[in-house]
Every structure is written in structure tokens, then in C-alpha cells.
């Protein structure tokens, strides 16, 4: 077949000059540091350094582009590989990795590790740093929207007397220096519950006040909720949730409706275990500073837990979003 080594390194190609769609059947060969292209009635020689070679993509042709925009399309991959081998050309790492089974498996494993690390450590850290930097107007706007959403779908107006409401408000005002707003709602299916919005709005259900029986236990729960506000847990969960949602949306290939889901995400995302512990610690410290015992909160956790057990079918309530209550009760009771 081939009479000389150089002749063995001939590659068939289609040449296009960039000015018309005419296809010129051509052959490529190496000539020292240059590529030689020969077609019927046409030949050109270009230094290898002046050429651009497209990355390999399976059966797709590889394109060798000249500096004037003309290009040659090569489909004989085996012959081209021999020619490239002779010229010492090597593909970039990202290119090779896309077609090597071990590299693909490695990329897959690395991706899983990176995603896990980001979700477990990176994201919570970033949210903690970013949360205090969220503009006040956005925090208030989001909290207002969330409350509207909750009022519309989950809660009813409180049946508690106005006088009783203002009395509880003034008791709370005497116990904390944090900016807050205490509001009352009827829980209904939600049952005994209390939660905090990022702007310091504390929502308490009539059922929780009834379950508590006295002001001190209500205040203990509110101290816990203020702990969430002070540590910006709500905003942190929202930021984390948004990034996850953004990633999922991008992954699923659709880019919209992400931010529209934010208020919903805020309701649905429970606090993490660490955040509950932080809020408990905050409440315990606050109670002690007021000359009261952290056991008050433990007491309430106990009651809520029992209430949840009693009324599985008509509402789990506060503890649904507050896991490991037995452990938390013990932790609070162990404190001096």
C-alpha cells in the first residue's frame, strides 16, 4: 500500500473555503511543522501553530480551521489520530475526560462528593455570612408576604380578647430588647403552635396559649422563637433553600418561578437540628437572665409533645418542625 512513511499519513477530508458552500474533496498530510492540503486544482500549506483543531466528539467530524476562516472536515478518525500522533498534538484534559470511562466515573464520584460537601458545609456557611447583609426592606417584604400566605391558607383570626393580647404583648416587651411584633391567630388544624418570621414577627396560636396555662410558659416559647430571629435562622434557611431551588431548576433545565416559590419555601423548610439547639440555648440564657428556669421551656416541649401524640390526626403542630424533642427536653432540664 504505502511506499513511504509520509504517504501512510494521508488523511481524507472535505475542504470548504469559507466563501461558498462548495465542498472540495482533499487530502491532508504533514510537511515538517506545517499541514499540507491538496485538492483538485487547489493546494495550501499552513504552519501547524496557525491551525485550530476542534475537540473529538465521537463520530462527529473534527474540524481543522485555517486562520482565514476556511476549514477542513475530517471523518476518518483513525487516520487523523495517526497524523496527530506524528505531530505531537494532545487534547485538553476536559476534552479527554469526557470520553474516558474512568474519567467519567471519577467526575461522577467527585460531583457527588462536591454536592454533598456544598449542601452540608458550604451552603450553611455562605447563608450565615450572607443573611445579615440582606436589605431590611427585603426582609420585611418577605415576612409580610409569608404571613399573608399563612393567613390565607392555614390560620384564622384569633379569638383571644384584645385586652389579653395587649397584656401578653407588654409582658413580652418587658422581657426582650430585640425588635419584634407579637401577633395572635387561631390555629385550627395547625393546633398549638408558634413561629417567628425573619423580620421579628412572632405568631402564636390561641391553642398554644391555652396549652401553656400561664404566661411564663408562653414567654419561654417566645424566647425560643426570638432565638431564631436573633440568629437569623429564617433568612438563612430561605437563602439555602433558594440556592438549592436555583440549582434544581437549572439542573432540570427550566429557569423561572424560582423566586416565586420563596415564601412557600420559607413555610415548608423546617429549621435544622443545629438551629433548634441554638434557639434553645438562646432561650435558656434569656430565661436565666430573667431569673427564671430553662425548665419552663422543657415543660412546654413536654406538653406539646404529649398534645401531638394525643392529636395525631388533627394536627401535630409545633413539634413537627422541631425534631428530637425528648433529647431537647433532657438538655434543657440538665441546666442549672
Amino acid at each position: 500500500m504505502s511506499t513511504s512513511p509520509s504517504e501512510a499519513l494521508t488523511v481524507a477530508a472535505l475542504y470548504f473555503d469559507g466563501h461558498s458552500a462548495r465542498a472540495w474533496p482533499a487530502t491532508l498530510s504533514l510537511d515538517g511543522d506545517a499541514l499540507l492540503l491538496a485538492a483538485e486544482g487547489l493546494s495550501r500549506r499552513a504552519p501547524l501553530a496557525s491551525l485550530r483543531l476542534s475537540e473529538p466528539m465521537g463520530a462527529a467530524p473534527r474540524l481543522i480551521t485555517f486562520d482565514d476562516g476556511a476549514h477542513a472536515e475530517v471523518r476518518d478518525h483513525a487516520a487523523l489520530a495517526r497524523l496527530l500522533g506524528a505531530s505531537g498534538q494532545r487534547d485538553r484534559l476536559t476534552v479527554r475526560s469526557a470520553f474516558d470511562l474512568r474519567m467519567v466515573a471519577g467526575a461522577l464520584a467527585l460531583l457527588v462528593v462536591v454536592l454533598w460537601g456544598a449542601a452540608r458545609y458550604g451552603l450553611p456557611w455562605a447563608a450565615e455570612v450572607a443573611a445579615p447583609r440582606v436589605p431590611e426592606a427585603v426582609v420585611t417584604g418577605l415576612s409580610r408576604q409569608t404571613l399573608e400566605l399563612i393567613d390565607e391558607h392555614m390560620l384564622a383570626p384569633s379569638t383571644l380578647a384584645d385586652a389579653e393580647q395587649s397584656r401578653l404583648r407588654s409582658v413580652l416587651a418587658g422581657r426582650t430588647t430585640l425588635s419584634h411584633a407579637l401577633v395572635f391567630r387561631h390555629g385550627g388544624a395547625v393546633g398549638p403552635n408558634a413561629f417567628a418570621l425573619p423580620d421579628g414577627t412572632l405568631v402564636v396560636t390561641d391553642e398554644l396559649i391555652e396549652l401553656a396555662g400561664d404566661d411564663e410558659r408562653v414567654m419561654a416559647v417566645l424566647m425560643h422563637e426570638l432565638g431564631h430571629v436573633e440568629r437569623r435562622h429564617g433568612m438563612r434557611m430561605l437563602l439555602q433553600g433558594s440556592v438549592v431551588a436555583l440549582f434544581m431548576t437549572w439542573y432540570a433545565g427550566d429557569v423561572s418561578s424560582v423566586i416565586a416559590m420563596a415564601p412557600t419555601a420559607l413555610i415548608q423548610s423546617g429549621y435544622s437540628r443545629d438551629m433548634e439547639r441554638e434557639a434553645d440555648d438562646y432561650a435558656a440564657a434569656a430565661l436565666r437572665a430573667q431569673g427564671r428556669s430553662p425548665a419552663l421551656l422543657a415543660d412546654m416541649l413536654q406538653r406539646l409533645s404529649e398534645s401531638a401524640d394525643r392529636g395525631r390526626k388533627d394536627g401535630g403542630g409545633w413539634l413537627d418542625s422541631h425534631p428530637d424533642s425528648a433529647q431537647r427536653i433532657e438538655r434543657l432540664r440538665d441546666r442549672p
Binding site: A23, M57, E73
Partner: protein, 364 residues
């Protein structure tokens, strides 16, 4: 938004190699051939995904270029492949702008509804120009046989297609929506060219109304069925708070069912409608995508993607692309060698760079 150059127009066949010197003038059918493979594309996809995550999204622009290059270069017409030349830096710029616009829009609504509507108005005013530039970017960066596609649509046309017609269709309770769609497709294709050869879009408005008529029937049928199902679920879980968590899932499933019902039909019919009424100079196209085949592909894709937590996605993309691309045929009126470069291209080699600098590619 259906970009006329996405995946569809294309190159020559690996199997049926056409002698480029053949000078016969009888009309001849050149089928589009797609040679991409799922396993191969999975490698590109996973590396893209990893690098995008590691760079917090910045690599996504480079990922997009590699993805489009994979699909373009595996699409062959008349013995030659398509190619994509987008500059990742221009795409990154477009994505950053797009992200900031989205962010500004959402934050402004949180701050005050008035500011929100103001920003919304500004966005609506800017969107047609951004879309026009995006079409131009995509066309100029797509090539076949060494010639670039092009898009010469002007701002006036963009405002009509992307602002006036949508508003008109909203104000007429979407009675004019099919007409809007026809005008949008006409703007996209009538202003497009391959080298110096112009595309021409001839699909009548009536064809769009027929398509949407069937779609409306499908939609009513689907809504009755899924709506009934959702009501049943609501009734079953009424009063039980534990089952209430199933509500969002039921609603989501309802949406997925509606999507499955409509999307394949619309994709197949629209593709056929557009390409069967598009000419490129003296050449024309034929598309015979079948809705029922796309239903089967879409449904099995969705099931496989869910079962594999998304890892089937690259295989799904290849399956869909193969069917859609191979449904299209170019009926040539003469030798394909006869196309020549467009004037703008011939005039200056810097035309392309200018496009990259001034044109942003916005993902929509």
C-alpha cells in the same frame, strides 16, 4: 422560544455520502442525519455539570458551547456537519445580565409594588431588543459548509413580534395568540439567511389556528381528567392534616400530566408546520415528525429521568434530538455547492467579532 437554528437545520450524511461535484439539477431530498450517542454525550454532560458546580455557575457558558457543538457537529446534511462558534465569554456576559435583571425584578417587587411594576415595564421594553440580539447571535454563530447563518431582523419587527402581538393577544383573551405565534415565527425565519441566501416563511395564520384548536381540545380534555383527579385527592384528604402534605404532590402530578399531554403534540406539529412552510432560496424543507412518536419518547424519557434521579437526562436529550432532526429533509432545487457567503460576511472578517462584542446571548 423556538429558535429556528436550534438542533434543526443541518448537514450531510455519514452513510449516504453525496458527491459534491454532482451537477444534476433535478430536485433531490437530502435527509438530516444525527449521529450523537447518549453514552458519549453523558461524558460531556457530567464533566460540564461538575465544572459548573465547582465554578459556581461560571463554567455554564463554556458548558453551553460544548453542548451545542456536540449537537451541531453530529448533525449532518449533504455530507457536511453543522458547527457552532459562540464565544463562551459573550454567553457568560449575557447570563450575568440575565441573572441581574431577574434578581433586580424580584427584589424590586419585594421592596415596593410600584418599583416592581416600573422595573417590569423597563424589562418589557428591553426584552424585544434582547431577543433580537439573541437570534442574531445564535444565527451568526451557526455554520454549515463553512458559511455562517445570519439574522437581519430589525428593532421595529422585534417590537411587533415580541411586544405588540403578545399584548394584543392578552387583551383579546388570547384569541389572537395563534396569530402572535405565526408573526413571531415569521419574524424569526423571514429575517434569517444562510450565507447570502434568504429564508422565506410562508405558513398561513389559519394553520396556526388549526394547530391551537386541536391543542385547546387536548387541554380541555386533560384539564377535565387531571382536575377530576386532583378533586378526588382533595376530597380523600379533606380534614386529615397528615395527608395534606400530599396536596402539592397531587398538584405537581397534575401539571406533569398536562405537560405530557400538550408538549409532544405542540413540538411535533409546530416543527412540521414551520419547516414544511419554509424555503431557503429555491430549496425547501419537509418535516414529518409524528406526535405519537414524540409522546412515546417524552413519556419514557420522563420516567427514566425520574427513576435515575436525572442521570438519564443526557440520553433523553439525544433521543429527542435524533427523532426531531431526522424528521427533517432538505428538498434541494440544485447543487448544494452553489450557496455563497453573505455580503456582510464577505465585507469584513471583523463582522463576527463585532457581533460577539455587542450581541449578548440570553437564554430564554
Amino acid at each position: 422560544m423556538n429558535n429556528p437554528f436550534e438542533n434543526t437545520p443541518s448537514s450531510a450524511a455519514t452513510t449516504t455520502f453525496i458527491n459534491p461535484f454532482a451537477a444534476d439539477t433535478a430536485p433531490r431530498s437530502e435527509a438530516l442525519v444525527f449521529s450523537g450517542r447518549g453514552g458519549e454525550y453523558f461524558g460531556i454532560w457530567i464533566v460540564n455539570l461538575l465544572l459548573t458546580v465547582l465554578t459556581l455557575g461560571i463554567y455554564s457558558a463554556w458548558a453551553k458551547v460544548r453542548r451545542l457543538q456536540y449537537f451541531h457537529r453530529h448533525t449532518t446534511l449533504g455530507g457536511a456537519a453543522f458547527d457552532y462558534h459562540g464565544d463562551p465569554r459573550a454567553i457568560l456576559k449575557g447570563r450575568v445580565i440575565g441573572f441581574l435583571l431577574l434578581l433586580g425584578y424580584n427584589i424590586s417587587f419585594e421592596v415596593s409594588p410600584l418599583l416592581g411594576f416600573l422595573v417590569l415595564g423597563l424589562l418589557a421594553a428591553a426584552m424585544p431588543v434582547l431577543l433580537m440580539r439573541s437570534l442574531r447571535f445564535r444565527a451568526l454563530n451557526t455554520s454549515w459548509r463553512g458559511l455562517r447563518f445570519g439574522f437581519d431582523g430589525d428593532q421595529r419587527g422585534a417590537y411587533r413580534a415580541f411586544l405588540m402581538w403578545p399584548l394584543l393577544s392578552v387583551f383579546t383573551l388570547y384569541l389572537l395568540a395563534p396569530m402572535w405565534h405565526q408573526r413571531m415565527k415569521r419574524y424569526q425565519l423571514d429575517s434569517a439567511r444562510f450565507g447570502a441566501t434568504r429564508f422565506e416563511f410562508t405558513a398561513p395564520v389559519s394553520a396556526f389556528y388549526r394547530m391551537y384548536g386541536v391543542l385547546l381540545l387536548l387541554l380541555l380534555l386533560g384539564m377535565t381528567m387531571t382536575g377530576g383527579m386532583v378533586l378526588l385527592v382533595i376530597e380523600a384528604i379533606e380534614g386529615s392534616r397528615e395527608l395534606a402534605v400530599l396536596m402539592p404532590i397531587a398538584v405537581l402530578l397534575g401539571w406533569v400530566a398536562l405537560f405530557l399531554l400538550i408538549q409532544p403534540y405542540l413540538t411535533a406539529r409546530l416543527q412540521n408546520l414551520v419547516w414544511n412552510h419554509t424555503r431557503l432560496g429555491a430549496h425547501r424543507f419537509e418535516s414529518h415528525a409524528r406526535a405519537r412518536t414524540l409522546y412515546a419518547i417524552t413519556f419514557t424519557n420522563l420516567v427514566a429521568i425520574v427513576c435515575t434521579l436525572g442521570f438519564f437526562a443526557p440520553f433523553a436529550a439525544i433521543r429527542t434530538a435524533r427523532y426531531r432532526i431526522e424528521s427533517v429533509t432538505l428538498v434541494s432545487a440544485g447543487p448544494l455547492d452553489d450557496f455563497v457567503a453573505g455580503q456582510k460576511q464577505a465585507v469584513s472578517a471583523t463582522g463576527e467579532e463585532t457581533a460577539d462584542i455587542f450581541d449578548v446571548d440570553i437564554a430564554l
